[in-house]
Amino acid sequence: MINKKNSLIIFIVLIVGILFTSSVMAQETVELEMWHAWTGQDAFASEVLLPKIEEFQENNPNIKLKIQVIPNDSYRTKLRTQAAGGQIPDIMQTYPGSEVQPLVEAGLLMDLEGIIDYWTDDLIPRDSLSAYTFNDKVYAIPAKVNYTHFAFYNKDMLAEAGYTEWPETYEEFKVMGDALKENDIVPISLGNKAKWVLQSIYISTIGDRLTGIDYLEDVLAGERKFTDPAFIKALDVIKELADEGYFNKDANSLNDMEMRQAFYQKRAAMFFGGAWDIGGVIETAKEENMNVGIATFPQIEGEVAPKALSGVTGSAFSIRSGLSEAQKEAAIKFLKFFYSEETYVDLLRTGSFVPAKVDLPADISPQFQDVINLVNEHQIGPVYDAVLPINLIQTINNGLQSLTAGEITSEELAQKMQDNL
């Protein structure tokens, strides 16, 4: 019977029904603000990571990712400025070690302990997550492992100097360097304008070799010192390379492009770079008909860890703490999708190393297979700027420039590091 009372009830039910359904529907669309630094220049980003993000968006129309791409060089400035203003994104790319630590200590990031088993059960050993682990809690999942030390050398130029094989020992290496110098060739092209090159690429591996891979941890815990003769010896090696003219003289004012340019133009016999250079070197070598070999630093006398090779995880996402339940769910869903076995296998295809234990795909390039074999002969060691606190990173970065410019001695630098601890 339709009378006033009934129609009122029906009206109310309808309204409530509409409100309820629309709020449920509104609930279903979750927005996440996302920041990352993958501008698409690097193959691992353009071929794997960026398409992966797009795939996620397609599969999840009710999760809206508002993405901001900020180039690597400006990323920190923007993040720190906005964080200082009390605003950080919901999902953001974070950098390992002392870069992400202040965020953790300020309680800005959500720890992933609740879901970490998804990875640590089978895919990624917990050890590999150490760069993002604080107080036994993991705060990010990395996509890649960046080995920061490879020697890219011109086989023909070495042959002309009488070396058909990569020198086994550092002493042999120096003799070869002398031979190259005789022929007016710069043995090693170095571009240290950005300061981190000598630190991440050189001292990290050379240091790890001479001091052992637990050294930095021990120093930070107060059990060992920077003034240890082993560390000073590592600094001495770099100083020697500079003083004896194995590096180009203007190393501290050249950037990485100029460093590689000297190599490609055959003015230098080799340069040291990271895993990120592998793709570019292989490609350019093919174009220029260069015979390029990849190796690691020769054995130095007194090495404690002769197989050490510095590397650090990267390309990781962290989640902000204080998200709503719906947002948290969406963010976690994203992480699980993004950092999946498939992703790691795809990354291997682009010539990137991964922290996950996955089978090598059959279609990787033979050159990369060679590099993988090379890496497998080694043991991963810490990269200095992934482990040291910020002020020490600055001390050693600037210190290495001073060291190679002849402004200070190895002992003085070691003492400075110890004082700033």
Binding site: R76, T77, R80, T81, A83, A84, P102, L103, E105, A106, L108, V186, N192, K193, A194, K195, N248, K249, D250, A251, N252, S253, L254, N255, E258, R267, I390, N391, Q394, N398, G399, Q401, S402, A405, E407
Partner: protein, 292 residues
């Protein structure tokens, strides 16, 4: 000359008001906030902790800071002694009726607008030790002893960089002087010619006094710009090698955004401002005394 309208004052203040408000809100207020930050220790993430004048004490005890101040003074001197006279000379030259003056007027200004990235890339190659244009020319004309490690040698890197800064901004003072020269009426110049004053004499005794306000303005701009200089050095050498080309603005940026010491960085900012006020005041007083 006094205007005697009654509501003149109101009109004056009203006219200045919009500029005043915008400037107050978005320059002065931020600087005061920054001054407050200079009194705390803050890494930008965790809550700040009040430390009074500790940041300033740390700053004045920091060798790197003093070096950065010295580097800024190199830029200031190079700019004032380089950009202003060269800019003025070029303005004089181009102000004449010469062929292609539109072209020259444009070209001389161009470096001011080119991105620091390009300038840095090109000039790095000029300064390159082995293959740079400069060393090649020196070798070619037999001046091998003058060949230097222009950007890697900590002793001379700052001068090499200062030269590029001078080069980049000459055009700025050029157009300021060019505009100023327009206020020198042709009649006066003609009259001077008839009186027998020509060329340099005329420039020195007639033109320069007539544009002295612009000269003072340019010097003040020079000083303020030199104390703030950041972009070009940042891209070209990043303050290196090992602080050799670090200027105060880079010192501040490095400590704030790389070292995560917002308090210390703010202290450096405040110092830049205060130091600038002192310098500019000295210069303006010198000019005022010179005028009398």
């Amino acid at each position: 000359m006094e205007h005697i309208y009654k509501h003149k004052k109101k009109l004056i203040y009203l006219g200045i008001l919009p500029a005043f408000l915008l400037y107050l809100g978005f320059v002065i207020v931020p600087i005061f906030i920054s001054a407050r930050y200079s009194l705390v220790e803050w890494n930008g993430f965790s809550p700040p902790a009040f430390v009074g004048l500790e940041n300033y004490a740390e700053m004045f005890g920091n060798n790197v800071f003093w070096r950065s101040l010295k580097n800024n003074m190199v830029v200031v001197l190079a700019s004032v002694l380089g950009q202003v006279p060269i800019g003025f000379l070029l303005a004089l030259l181009v102000n004449q009726k010469i062929k292609g003056r539109h072209f020259f007027r444009t070209i001389i200004f161009m470096p001011v607008v080119i991105s620091a990235v390009i300038i840095s890339l090109v000039w790095s190659m000029v300064y390159n030790y082995n293959f740079g244009l400069l060393n090649n020319i020196l070798n070619f004309v037999g001046l091998e002893s003058w060949v230097q490690n222009w950007l890697s040698n900590p002793d001379i890197a700052m001068f090499s960089v200062a030269a590029v800064i001078i080069w980049q901004f000459v055009g700025l003072y050029f157009i300021i002087f060019l505009a100023a020269l327009q206020t020198v009426p042709d009649e006066i110049l003609e009259a001077a010619k008839i009186d027998g004053a020509q060329g340099w004499k005329r420039t020195l005794y007639i033109t320069i006094p007539l544009v002295k306000d612009s000269i003072l303005a340019s010097i003040v701009l020079c000083i303020s710009g030199s104390l703030k200089t950041f972009a070009l050095i940042y891209v070209m050498t990043n303050g290196g090698p090992s602080h050799a080309t670090e200027v105060m603005a880079i010192h501040m940026y490095d400590n704030t955004f790389n070292g995560m010491k917002f308090g210390y960085g703010s202290a450096v900012s405040i110092f830049i401002v205060v130091f600038g006020i002192v310098l500019v005041t000295i210069v303006r007083n010198l000019f005022a005394r010179f005028e009398n």
